[in-house]
Amino acid sequence: MRLIVHNMLTCNIKGVVNKFPLRIEAEKVVIKKEVDFNTDFLRHMLAKIEWKALVDGARSMGYTELPDHAPEAEESYSFLKKFHHALLELHLEEGSLVCQETGRKFPVEKGVPNMLLHEDEV
């Protein structure tokens, strides 16, 4: 699971208010360099990304190079490289996504988050 996906996932347990973001508990992180560096794409994503969720998620996966806030003016090349790395190259292979409100853990196995709810959570 990449952070670009983590930035979209919410806890869907009935009644939960604080659904996003899910906290990451990383057990196995892999660096996957499968996506080309593309500044247009990154600038497009920058406008849509929840920055704090990305920074916290990256830290949970062992990457602390991102600034606390996204740049307001023209983004530097070095910033975009870090952004690219955090968004698209950090890959959670094994671990959990944790609901901040209930503590419920959604497992991530072989890079795939499992967001299925139990009977009593529906």
Partner: protein
């Protein structure tokens, strides 16, 4: 959801167009909901879903059954048919014996015809898509490539999700498409996220059609489009409460092997969308356009490669293969319909 069981609201078909491509246009004569849908609509209208313990665990059992079925059969399907796990779209009465690539083209045509029917064109600026019941991601990757859109897919099968992600990586689409294990009835997304909500042949697996449709609508963005392509049973006529017992019997046998809950009709979907105030609701019967599909699937299953793969794949695959003639029978006898239903969420 408001109760919409009053006869007057069911009979009229105001405003929305009914059109189809190349098959006779379907005038929906009646909108009597099927008995299966009546139950789900009644429970929803009470304001809470009063589901018994037995009912919930049967839903869990169905979910597990579906996951296991696709865990077991996906690899086999992909080997023989490729990454699109849906019917091909053919010209009606096409008697030409198609090659394998002809059928694959038909599967891609199914995607294109569905987008066209829903009025989803490049101009619509589709940016974010959800593929509900995504299989191994064929539709997602195709749509993401076509529109340059981001696409997330959800499936109950961990094997499918992993394979879908691997294929996306192999096609340099990892930044655009991703796949998760999630329940279509409890989607892990905020309201209004998606310009296009895509459900290609997954609706038939949903045990609660009302809840399924509500979720599709919830995650659709204002102005976004919803496309449902699904197996249905024929519409019920005026005065008909349910299918004939022999018709139901045929469907029950198919349900068992393909892990399907009760079937509903195209009109049932239309009614649900109407009750949720969706706009520009359209539907069509594409049964004639998919007729060559199951015979072709059976032919591939009966090849040497097909038989060996089936035997290696396991009992669920074998039972699935043995059930395919029932699909053909269902279509021939007019019980099973291949339907498309599309609409737009109001701004």
């Amino acid at each position: 959801m408001k109760a919409t069981l009053a006869p007057s609201s069911l009979i009229s078909l105001p405003r929305h167009k009914v059109s189809s491509l190349r098959s006779p246009s379907l005038l929906i004569q009646s909108q009597r909901p099927s008995s299966a849908l009546m139950t789900t609509m009644k429970t929803a209208s009470r304001g809470s879903v009063a589901v018994t313990a037995a009912a919930t665990s049967s839903v869990e059992a169905l979910r597990e059954g579906i996951a296991e079925f696709y865990n077991e059969t996906s690899g086999l399907w992909e080997e023989i048919w490729g990454d699109h796990m849906h019917h091909g779209f053919y010209d009606p009465d096409s008697s030409v014996q198609l090659s394998d690539s002809g059928h694959r083209e038909a599967q891609i045509r199914m995607i294109e015809e569905s987008l066209r029917f829903a009025g989803v064109t490049e101009e619509k600026k589709i940016k974010r898509v959800v593929d509900v019941g995504c299989g191994i991601g064929g539709s997602s990757r195709y749509i993401a490539s076509k529109f340059g859109a981001e696409c997330v897919g959800i499936t109950l099968s961990p094997v499918q999700a992993k394979r879908a992600n691997d294929l996306a990586a192999a096609q340099s689409l990892s930044h655009k498409v991703s796949f998760q294990v999630a329940d279509a009835l409890e989607q892990p997304f905020e309201d209004g996220m998606f310009d296009l909500v895509w459900s290609m042949e997954s609706g038939e697996h949903m045990p609660d059609k009302a809840k399924f449709v509500k979720e599709l609508v919830r995650v659709a963005a204002p102005g976004g489009r919803i496309i449902i392509v699904t197996w249905c049973h024929r519409n019920l006529s005026q005065g008909e409460e349910a299918l004939q017992p022999w018709e139901q019997n045929l469907l029950d046998r198919i349900c068992k092997t393909f892990y399907l809950p009760a079937w509903c009709s195209t009109s049932d979907y239309v009614n649900l969308l109407q009750s949720l105030s969706l706009q520009d609701i359209k539907c069509a019967d594409w049964s004639e356009n998919v007729a060559p599909f199951w015979p072709a699937v059976i032919r591939t299953a009966l090849t040497w490669k097909g038989l060996v793969s089936l035997l290696r794949s396991g009992m669920k695959s074998i039972k699935g293969a043995l059930t395919m003639p029932l699909m053909i029978e269902g279509y021939k006898k007019g019980i099973i319909k291949f339907g498309i239903i599309t609409c737009q969420k109001p701004l």
